[in-house]
């Protein structure tokens, strides 16, 4: 008359597999294939098991690794990134210049390493700040509801309804060149996404009976938020943020491409492409290499973001 404890994978109400006649898993007779109608559901990317775990953790390790690398990357640069150090327009794999040199003979590898630092660290910073601001706004709106929620969310809606890239360009143009201003410009258009997502999660959780049950159990609003709401928001927020770093990398590079980053001759991935556009037919690697690095960063963030999701959702 008592429920037996069900744990782990044994909960499935699976009928016993008879040891006498093992259940055949494939059709016993060469009858028609199992009928499926219409479109079959996607099964690609449906990685499972150990291989998936290894791939996911490798990607997450790469994400951490690239962050550590970008902290020290200027120290790894073989040359001064702003001084001409060799023949101009050397192609990649030239002696002493792994990625070649630019139109006035500066070492591309050194410039890329320096650009990588600003690009990646700033992206992580923008994402983190956006997440923090957005989460605070989202949690406050979601927990309190009523007019607080209405006010905050209408504000967010307005931000989300305006074209982010254009607003970032305008803000950046108004504030003038410089790293801080670029970060501010992107941040202004970035936090509302997080506010919206976090608020949605919080509202969904607050509407669940478990929050009411927690209140009845005597938990105050802070405890309710801390123990019964926030832990449910964190996975979504972390996954969203890690998938988002790549977007920030691209947006920052785009602003820089438009000349809204640091003034020349500071090494910057986007600007190094746009300043060398004239070389594209002559020495294509000069404008292309910095752009490719942006792409690699963005690709890594996307893949690692998926890996983070796989790991978190698995629980």
């Amino acid at each position: 008359m008592t429920d037996t404890l069900a744990r782990g994978g044994t909960t499935a109400a699976a009928p016993p597999h008879g040891p006498v006649t093992p259940e055949p898993v494939a059709p016993a007779s060469p009858g028609p294939a199992p009928r499926r109608w219409g479109l079959s559901r996607r099964r690609s990317f449906a990685r499972s098991g150990r291989a998936a775990t290894v791939v996911d953790w490798t990607l997450i390790a790469l994400l951490v690794g690239i962050t550590l690398l970008s902290v020290v990357s200027p120290l790894l640069a073989p040359y001064d990134p702003v001084q001409p150090v060799g023949m101009p327009k050397l192609p990649p794999l030239s002696e002493g210049h792994l990625l070649g040199t630019d139109a006035i003979g500066r070492d591309t590898l050194s410039r890329v390493l320096a650009g990588l630092q600003t690009s990646w660290l700033l992206s992580v910073l923008v994402t983190a700040l956006g997440l923090v601001i957005g989460s605070v706004v989202g949690v406050v709106a979601g927990m309190f509801g009523g007019w607080v929620d209405a006010l905050l969310m209408r504000t967010t809606d307005v931000f989300l309804s305006l074209p982010s890239m254009l607003v970032a360009v305008a803000v950046s143009a108004a504030l003038g060149p410089g790293l801080t201003n670029t970060v501010l410009a992107v941040l202004v258009v970035w936090w509302p996404y997080y506010a919206r997502i976090v608020r949605g999660e919080v509202r969904a959780l607050v509407a669940r009976p478990h929050v009411e049950a927690a209140r009845l159990a005597g938990a105050g609003w802070f405890r309710v938020m801390w123990r019964h709401v926030l832990p449910g928001v964190v996975p979504t927020a972390v996954v969203t943020a890690s998938l988002d770093i790549g977007n920030v990398v691209m947006t920052l590079a785009s602003l820089s491409f438009l000349g809204l980053g640091q003034p020349a001759p500071a090494p910057e991935l986007g600007a190094d492409t746009s300043r060398n556009l004239v070389e594209i037919l002559d020495a294509w690697w000069i404008p292309l290499i910095p752009g490719l690095v942006v792409m690699l960063l963005s690709l890594l963030s996307n893949l690692a973001g998926d890996a983070v999701r796989n790991r978190l959702v698995r629980r």
């Binding site: 008359m1 008592t2 429920d3 037996t4 404890l5 069900a6 744990r7 782990g8 044994t10 909960t11 499935a12 109400a13 699976a14 009928p15 016993p16 597999h17 008879g18 040891p19 006498v20 006649t21 259940e23 055949p24 898993v25 494939a26 059709p27 016993a28 007779s29 009858g31 028609p32 199992p34 009928r35 499926r36 109608w37 219409g38 079959s40 559901r41 499972s48 669940r208 009976p209 478990h210 009411e212 049950a213 927690a214 009845l216 159990a217 005597g218 938990a219 123990r227 019964h228 832990p231 449910g232």
Partner: protein, 672 residues
């Protein structure tokens, strides 16, 4: 060996001809893939559906009854990569080898299906009439069918979207669609589970009359033996992917031969279950099913060592123990111990009576609500702002230690009353006195969502005893776990790792680890299997006796209300229409609506006369007595009673204490 269905001489093995069975499953085995793991769901089902026959397929969750119904329609979801073996024929077509075109043709002309939830089963962006016409062939035919299934103003409803219809009307649309084209076989998968009690009776009635008019066969899948008993000619009881007993409705109900069927029957609540003893319960699912032998062994009262040796196959119930050969025709059971089961009188062992209830005081009530009204701003189905009158003047009290069950259909305001009384809902008018804070605890319908998913049971329970000294906490937590019948091992489990019944026990443990003054229960058993639900009801009854807690228990099921309530309050559209001691309300209902509810409880061997119409909308309650449009004994004045109808004592009954019986009807007594 487990699938070795012996050839059964009495059934033709030839493909279905014009007068053969409408559908035939022979040794049907189905396995499905879930989350990459393949499970055998059906283990060799032998079943024939005769022409014009209604077959009720009964089983708890996990019995495979729904998978069987999907197989019967060729609708097994491709995503779970079904593997089907054995014989599977419907309407003369072998569904396993049929081409897509053949399959479509047979679905269009010979098969019909009614699913559980008509809201999700209808296309939300298409007019319901067009959806019927897709199968019926023309708009005129669709309108005719919609009229035939009792949809008022079918021409107008034709252009409605599903979300603009009530649940009952939606299910009628589904039925209209199912019977379009005059099918030979109708499969109804839990067609009434999502519906209110009175509407459920209507839909079952409609299904029965469809059979009578069209001569189609119906397979009625249900978890409720009572529902099957109401309309089925024959009942098939399934357990873990096998048929364990089959026979005519009378045979199965009156001479159940499988211990599981007996268990289902015995744990079924009815209006005459013994209230003074704990409910008889079937042991619930063992977590790890036995690897071999009869799958029911772990829960079986008749089990013997031999039961683990093999899987019993369906065999005829020996004629002699039925007292006559005629009685046993078609009655088959899959059990090694049939003889012993037959020799034991059907029924249940007597359980010790519950301790008597402490005398409920007549002093200061714990909760006193006077003329409480509660209106919410909502948007109606057309998007306009509207007032939803959840409570329209409720006067009610609850004595310390007393238990009151609140019964009503959806939209009656029963849950709102619960929340107002517990101080959880503050938007109301009228006066209310009652406990608040941690003196009020609540258990919810969906125990899973009422427990914080990422916290362990220990953390959840400790949260309630934070005031206690640290060493005392664990002790009290373990004590309450013991009281609700859970092993200490669950302390480190998260809710997702527990079964439905265990979660509801954890919820009860959390609510009572520090005994509250009042325990609010919002349909805590309606999502559970029959046998698990009985366990939870027993637990509620034990806890309130042991701890002296007052209980308010909301349910749509009168039989449940009778078990847990000292008193029963019947609600209709925001008002209490009848209030009295449980035995008085059930045995001698005064309000016509209560009478209907009592009649609508599916009870084997009793014909149900369904009440016409559906509950009116709380957005626009009828004037006067809100029940008058559906009331069989309404007078003209019922609609015009300006002040509304007040609860008044029934003649000749005590008026003052908890024994009083009140009714809100100008025709008091007319219900009888």
């Amino acid at each position: 060996m487990e699938t070795a269905a012996p050839p059964r001489p009495e059934t033709p093995t030839a493909p279905a001809s014009e007068d053969g069975p409408v559908a035939r499953l022979g040794g049907l085995r189905v396995s499905l893939e879930r989350n990459g793991v393949r499970t055998q769901v059906l283990h060799g089902i032998d079943l024939e559906i005769g022409r014009g026959e209604i077959v009720g397929v009964v089983g708890e969750s996990g019995s495979g009854k729904s998978v069987m119904s999907q197989a019967l329609l060729g609708l097994l979801p491709a995503t779970s990569r079904p593997v089907v073996e054995g014989d599977l024929q419907a309407a003369g077509l072998d569904l396993r080898t049929a081409s897509d075109a053949e399959l479509r043709e047979v679905r269009r002309t010979h098969l019909g299906v009614v699913f559980q939830d008509p809201m999700t089963s209808l296309n939300p962006t298409m007019h319901v009439g067009r959806q019927v016409a897709e199968k019926a062939g023309s708009a005129e035919e669709a309108v005719r069918l919609m009229r035939a299934v009792g949809i008022p103003q079918p021409e107008r409803r034709y252009r409605s979207f599903p979300h603009e219809l009530s649940g009952g009307l939606r299910q009628r649309v589904m039925i209209a669609m199912a019977v379009a084209g005059g099918p030979k076989l109708l499969v109804a998968d839990e067609p009434t589970t999502a519906l209110d009690v009175t509407v459920q009776a209507q839909v079952l009635d409609l299904l029965g009359s469809m059979r009578d008019e069209l001569g189609c066969s119906i397979v009625l899948i249900t978890h409720d033996l009572g529902v099957a008993a109401q309309v089925a000619d024959r009942i098939v009881v399934m357990y873990r992917g096998r048929v364990v007993e089959t026979g005519s409705t009378r045979q199965v109900l009156e001479q159940p031969r499988h211990p599981y069927t007996r268990g289902l029957l015995a744990s079924r609540l009815s209006l005459d279950s013994d209230r003074t003893r704990p409910l008889w319960t079937l042991p619930v699912h063992a977590t790890v099913p036995a690897d071999e032998g009869c799958p029911f062994t772990a829960r079986c009262a008749f089990r013997q060592d031999g039961c683990s040796a093999g899987v019993p196959v369906l065999a005829h119930v020996p004629a002699e123990d039925d007292g006559g050969a005629a009685a046993a025709v078609g009655h088959e059971v899959a059990c090694f111990e049939t003889a012993r089961v037959a020799a034991t009188a059907a029924g249940r062992e007597e359980l010790d009576p519950l301790p008597p209830l402490p005398e409920v005081g007549t002093g200061a009530p714990l909760v006193a609500a006077a003329d409480v009204a509660c209106t919410f701003q909502v948007r109606d189905e057309r998007g306009r702002r509207a007032d939803l009158a959840a409570l329209r003047g409720v006067t009610f009290d609850l004595q310390p230690g007393e238990s009151v069950a609140i019964v009503g259909e959806s939209g009656s305001g029963k849950s709102t009353l619960l929340r107002v009384a517990g101080g959880l809902e503050k938007r109301f008018t009228g006066s209310l006195r009652g406990p608040s804070g941690t003196d009020v605890q609540m258990v919810f319908q969906d125990a899973g969502s009422s427990l914080t998913p990422w916290m362990t049971v220990r953390e959840l329970l400790h949260e309630r005893v934070r005031d206690a000294a640290r060493p005392e906490r664990e002790e009290r937590v373990r004590a309450i776990l013991d009281r609700v019948g859970l092993p200490d091992a669950v302390l480190d489990a998260r809710p997702g790792e527990l079964s439905g019944g265990q979660r509801q026990r954890v919820a009860l443990a959390r609510a009572t680890v520090v005994p509250p003054k009042i325990l609010l229960c919002d349909e805590p058993t309606s999502a559970l299997d029959v046998s698990v639900a009985a366990n939870v009801l027993n637990l509620v009854n034990e806890l309130r006796r042991d701890l002296g807690i007052a209980v308010m228990f909301v349910t749509h099921d009168l039989a449940v209300a009778r078990i847990v309530g000292d008193r029963i309050a019947v609600m209709y559209l925001g008002r209490i229409v009848e209030l009295g001691r449980a035995e008085d309300v059930i045995a001698d209902p005064q309000h016509p609506y209560t009478r209907t509810l009592v009649d609508a409880v599916p009870q084997p061997g009793r014909t149900v006369v369904p009440l016409a119409g559906e509950p009116a909308s709380a957005l626009d309650p009828p004037s006067g007595c809100a029940f008058h449009p559906r009331c069989p004994v309404a007078l003209a004045e019922c609609a015009s009673t300006v002040t509304g109808i007040q609860l008044a004592a029934v003649d000749g009954r005590p008026t003052s204490d908890v024994a009083r019986h009140e009714v809100a009807c100008v025709r008091t007594g007319a219900a009888r």
